[in-house]
Symmetry: C2
Amino acid sequence: MSVLHLCDDEPALVRPETSVADAIHVMLSKRVGAVGVVDANSVVAGIFTERDVLRKVALSDRDPASIQVREVMSTPVVLATPSTTPGEALAVMVDRHFRHLPVVDDAGRLLGMLSIRNLLEAQVDELTQQLDSLEHYVTNDAMGGD
Amino acid sequence: MSVLHLCDDEPALVRPETSVADAIHVMLSKRVGAVGVVDANSVVAGIFTERDVLRKVALSDRDPASIQVREVMSTPVVLATPSTTPGEALAVMVDRHFRHLPVVDDAGRLLGMLSIRNLLEAQVDELTQQLDSLEHYVTNDAMGGD
């Protein structure tokens, strides 16, 4: 399965010149913990997360309406592609303490935003299915079925 | 397994009169997304999360050093106990869109803070183990082993 299928349908995104206040409004209205920061060609320039708000904005004495996202976004960004496997993405996120990983095409354009929660939920679903089918096989076998 | 075993060893906590600025420092230094808010008897009064920072503080024009956590914490809090199962906790968190659930004793004192990420990771581990042992059984069976 491609990690792209685990992303929300429409990734939340802002431009580098978007104000931090507007970016926070996007996060709140879309109920996401991170937005992709993309240029005019949809190429990922960075990622702006709840953690960035806490680390760089909330205690800064600055007005979020007057800060551009480019000043406080996280960059450079580790990126996934549609050919990244869920296991590879999870390993990177656990290792680097990332909660989000942008998925991009060959030109670096944002296709989706992967969250560690979506990844873990998908892994639980997949393992449950594997377990169900294996238990079914074991049960049938024990009963002399096929 | 009790949900308590899935919590961090020392839950991050603050008092209701702690400033939001200090609470954010606790979240950053402990690398957690939520702190328990407890009274002098360790009884849970609320929970203060990254989401509260975004929703109630970051855009408020107020100085986080002059806001008490009690003014912006989330309350009332849904609580888990050591006898809550991981499945019950996960169901509540998914249903209510919570990322954190305080675990308390009979007197309401904070014992630990459960995160949906820890829960999902534990579920992945458990399912993987079940699958491994079942696959082992199936393999042995197919080979005429025990």
